[in-house]
């Protein structure tokens, strides 16, 4: 009873959100969620590009520390908390899409409720962690747990898609998505478990020097570049009719992702 009332209250309020409400009436909530998924994805690709670019300064730690101090300012700390919203929403909604498309789960309303509830919980937890300033986490243990859970998820998706008919590129997009599902939110959370300290050059270098974490980072980097690149190419393919322009943009996206892949790999090898 309370659950139904709460749902009715939330859905009534959401129906009044400008612009979104027009699309809710004309295309349904899932259309709005699909657009939100896209926009969050684009935002994350942009952020990841800035992130990799900033990390490339690690070769000169003093320069890196000077730049990272800038991100420690209060407005940036707030923005970095806000980043949890697109990250967790895109991850969980991506999980919902994988369940819907690949595992035949049609209980979409319930899955969507979970997406929103867990997203809200994650964002608040993130904020709490930022305020608590905890330093007692073992990075190796943290990544071992996250990577084990996530690799298991990716293996399930691989086994499901392996023999199915269809595009290998699309399957790989889903496989990389399932690999990033926990890894990216975990990465974000880890950074905020030790704000400031964990982002200092010496700490980042020490972390990347660990062979296990180095492989984790490289795995995340390439999964993210493929996943983001495929997503962007897919969006351009939806709206651009000219084959020449479509191929040109696909090549540009591929080259950009390859360049970021090169920067990231070089960094991991050098450190």
């Amino acid at each position: 009873m309370v659950k139904k009332r709460l749902e009715r209250f939330i859905s009534h309020r959401l129906d009044q959100v400008p612009i979104a409400s027009v699309y809710v009436k004309s295309r349904g909530w899932y259309f709005v969620i699909a657009w939100a998924h896209r926009l969050c994805g684009i935002l994350m690709v942009l952020f990841a590009s800035v992130h990799i670019y900033t990390l490339s300064f690690l070769s000169t730690p003093a320069l890196y520390d000077a730049k990272i101090k800038f991100f420690g300012l209060a407005p940036f700390a707030f923005l970095s908390w806000m980043l949890a919203i697109p990250v967790i929403f895109h991850a969980l909604n991506g999980g919902r899409l994988i369940l819907y498309e690949m595992f035949g789960s049609r209980n979409d309303n319930s899955m969507t409720r979970w997406v929103f509830s867990l997203s809200i919980a994650f964002v608040f937890l993130q904020g709490l962690l930022m305020m608590l300033w905890s330093r007692s986490v073992s990075m190796l243990f943290f990544w071992l747990v996250a990577a084990t859970i996530n690799s298991s998820l990716a293996c399930i998706v691989i086994s499901k898609s392996w023999k199915a008919t269809g595009s290998i590129f699309w399957k790989f997009h889903r496989i990389t998505g399932s690999f990033l599902l926990i890894m990216v939110p975990a990465h974000l959370m880890l950074m905020h478990l030790q704000p400031g300290i964990s982002q200092e050059a010496a700490m980042v270098i020490a972390r990347i020097q660990n062979p296990f974490i180095k492989w984790i980072d490289l795995g995340m980097l390439f999964a993210m570049l493929y996943h983001g690149g495929y997503g962007l190419i897919s969006i351009t393919g939806d709206y651009i009719e000219s084959k020449v322009l479509q191929n040109g943009l696909a090549a540009l996206i591929f080259l950009t992702m390859a360049a970021f892949g090169w920067i990231g790999t070089r960094l991991a090898i050098m450190i």
Binding site: G28, Y30, A34, Y100, G104, A164, T165, G166
Partner: protein, 242 residues
């Protein structure tokens, strides 16, 4: 519940001779159970005989009267004034043609061009299997039919295509995908490989992003997204690989 409504239709007009497009307002007194096709006819009879629109059966079976009302693609013959006022919570309606093909005039779009997408998936049995030797005709069992019976209810009104997040530029469209899948699942069809090539081609199911707008707007209440998701999950395996 009002017995009459004062409604305003803001209709997107298009004059092909001068290639001019504009919004024209029509104010109408309408009974609550009038359909939108009735309103269009009322405009023709009482206000403006030049206003063009499309319809044929006018009972939700042919799909020719599809338009966008306040952004929602639907069949004008199925929408009652009373329901529209309640659903959109306004007596003012923006009426536009679907953008799935070039507009011929006002609300009439080029159905021949729209149907070209359906033609691409070959909506017929390409290579029919012979009936069993002891029968004159090929009978499909209820179990086989159950898998795709809902998909066969599609009337190609193009509402799903118009609503789709993937737009209609490079995607053949949810209705074209349904037409393809019906024949993939049809046990009478022997030519599966060619069909799967189109279904999984660059204008096929992978253009779908599961926004489920197709299922939301479908006037025949077909869960289109469910069928497209089945295809993406690889449920229609290539018989050559089996």
């Amino acid at each position: 519940m009002a017995s009459h409504y004062h409604i305003t239709l803001k209709i997107r007009r298009y004059d092909p001779e001068n290639r001019r497009s504009w919004i024209q307002n029509y104010h109408l007194e309408a009974g609550r159970i009038l359909r939108f096709v009735d309103l269009f006819r009322k405009i023709n009879n009482e206000q403006d005989p030049t206003f063009s629109w499309n319809s044929s059966c006018e009972h939700g079976q042919c799909g020719t009267c599809s338009v966008k009302i306040n952004g929602k693609p639907l069949l004008a013959c199925e929408l009652l004034v009373e329901n529209a006022v309640q659903y959109f919570n306004t007596p003012v309606f923006n009426v536009e043609p679907l953008e799935v093909a070039p507009v011929v005039r006002d609300l009439v779009f080029d159905l021949t061009k729209a149907y070209k997408r359906i033609d691409q998936v070959k909506p017929y049995v390409i290579s029919p299997a012979n009936p069993p030797s002891d029968q004159d005709e090929y009978s499909i069992s209820p179990n086989e039919m159950k898998q795709y019976i809902n998909a066969t209810r599609c009337i190609n009104c193009f509402c799903c295509s118009s609503a789709c997040i993937s737009s209609h530029r490079n995607f053949l469209g949810p209705n074209a995908m349904l037409a393809s899948m019906i024949r993939v699942l049809d046990p009478r069809e022997k030519e599966k490989a060619q069909r799967l090539k189109i279904l999984y081609g660059h204008r096929g199911v992978y253009r779908c992003h599961s926004s489920r707008a197709c299922s939301f707007v479908c006037p025949k209440e077909i869960d289109v997204a469910h069928f497209v998701a089945l295809a993406k999950a690889g449920r229609f395996n290539d018989p050559n690989n089996e």
